[in-house]
Symmetry: C2
Subunit: 213 residues, 2 copies
DNA sequence: ATAGTTCAGTGATAAAGTCACACAGGAACA
DNA sequence: TGTTCCTGTGTGACTTTATCACTGAACTAT
C-alpha cells in the first residue's frame, strides 16, 4: 500500500500505546454514526469507506454538508468533545467501511506528542472549512439546474444512478418537487431517462458513453 | 483584565521566545487583511477589534461567511499556510483593532509545546465550523424577509444602523434589489424608516426603545 | 450652479420554493 | 389474482426570490 493511515506513520512506541486504547469498528452502509443532539462518545477516524454529514433545519428540510473519507477525522466530534455540546448534524455511512474510535485521552496525547498527527488533524479541518465555504457559495449563488447537472455528472461513474428524488433534494438542499421538475426537463432534453428510484444518464451527461466510445 | 489573550497564558519562557518573533499590528477599519487568491504571509491572531471574512462567487456576488473577534486565529490562513494555496476569501477589518502576526515556525512550536495554545486553535476551528454550518442552513432554508429582520435586530444596539443596501445584500448573500424591496415593505409596516445609507428601527424591531421605556 | 458619482426605487420577467393533490410501481397479503 | 398499502413521482397554482433594465434622488467636488 502506497498510502498509510495517519495512525501508521506514528513512531512505533506511540503507535502501540495508542492502538491498545483505540477500537476499530466496522460500519455497514446506512448505519448512523451520530444524530443531532447526541453527545460525543469518541472521535471517529475513518479508515475505509465514506460517511456523509447532513443537517436538518427547523423547517424539517435537510442538506448534505460534506463527506468524510479515508484518514478524515470527524472535526465535528472534536468540537462536541471540547465544548460538551450535542451534535448539530447527523453522520450516515454511505459506503461501508471501518473507523477507529479514538478516546479523548489518546487524542490529547497524540496531539501533544506527534507532529504528524497534528498535521493530519489540521488538514481535516482545512478540508471541512473548504467544503463548507464552497457549499455556501453554491447554495447562495448557483442555479439549481446547474447544480443538479453537476451533481449527476460527478456521480456518473456508471451510466445509472440509484437514488430517489427526495434523497437528491437533500444532496442539493432543495425541495423534492424542484428536483422532480428539473429532472423531467432534463428528460425532455434527452439528457437522462427516469424510472422509479433510478436515473440513467443518456445524452451529453453520460460520460461513461464517451469513455467507452 | 479578567480575560487574557491566548498568548498571555503561555508559560513565561515560551511566551518570551514567541513574542520576540511576533509582530503586533494595528489595523484601521476598512483595511483589507488579505484578498482572494493571495498567499498567506503569517497567521493573524486577533487581539482587539473585529474582522469580517467574505467570499465572492463566480457570478460576482459576495457573501459574509463569518466574523473573527478577540482571540480568534484565522483558521483560513492556517489552511493556506499548510497547503500553499491562495486564499479563497477576503478579510476586511470592521472595528479597528490589532492583531498578532504569528510566523509559521512560531506557530508550529506553540502547537508542539503548549496544550493551552492547541486548545485555543481547536476552539477557533470549532467556532468557524459552527458558523459555517449555521450559515448553510440559513441560506438554504430561511426566508429572506426573516433573515433581514433578524440581522437588523441583532445589530440594533442603537436605534440607527449605518449601512447601504448593497452592503446589507452582501451580509445576507442576496441582491441589492431584494434588500431594497424588503426594506421598503418594512417601512410600509412602520418597522423602519429609511434614508440614504441609514436604517432607523422604529416599530417592533426597535429594542432600544423597549430598553429605554 | 453643474457635473459626476453613488444610492435607492421599481416594473417586468424568470427561477425556485410551497402547498395540495393525483396517480403509478412494487410489496405484502388474502 | 386481485386488493391494499406504502413509497415515489408528476403537476397545477401560487408565493418568494433573483435578474435585468432603467429612473431618479442625494451627496461631492469644483
Amino acid at each position: 500500500m502506497p498510502h498509510h493511515s495517519i495512525l501508521d506513520i506514528l513512531p512505533e512506541q506511540l503507535r502501540k500505546e495508542a492502538m491498545e486504547k483505540i477500537q476499530v469498528m466496522r460500519f455497514p452502509a446506512g448505519r448512523i454514526l451520530f444524530s443531532a443532539g447526541e453527545h460525543c462518545q469518541g472521535l471517529p477516524l475513518v479508515l475505509k469507506g465514506s460517511v456523509k454529514v447532513q443537517m436538518t433545519g427547523v423547517s424539517g428540510h435537510s442538506i448534505v454538508l460534506y463527506r468524510m473519507g479515508k484518514d478524515d477525522i470527524c472535526t465535528l466530534s472534536i468540537g462536541c468533545l471540547m465544548t460538551g455540546r450535542g451534535y448539530r448534524a447527523e453522520a450516515v455511512v454511505e459506503e461501508e467501511g471501518e473507523a477507529a474510535m479514538i478516546p479523548r485521552g489518546v487524542f490529547d496525547r497524540l496531539m501533544d506528542q506527534s507532529p504528524e498527527f497534528r498535521l493530519g488533524i489540521m488538514e481535516s479541518y482545512g478540508r471541512r472549512l473548504d467544503d463548507l465555504m464552497l457549499l455556501v457559495e453554491e447554495v447562495a449563488f448557483h442555479r439549481m439546474d446547474e447544480r443538479l447537472e453537476e451533481w449527476l455528472q460527478a456521480r456518473a461513474s456508471r451510466g445509472v444512478i440509484t437514488i430517489t428524488h427526495q434523497e437528491l433534494a437533500v444532496e442539493l438542499g432543495t425541495a423534492r418537487e424542484v428536483v422532480s421538475r428539473l429532472l423531467k426537463e432534463l428528460e425532455r432534453q434527452k439528457m437522462v431517462s427516469l424510472s422509479r428510484g433510478k436515473i440513467e444518464l443518456t445524452g451529453l451527461l453520460d460520460s461513461s458513453a464517451l469513455a467507452g466510445a
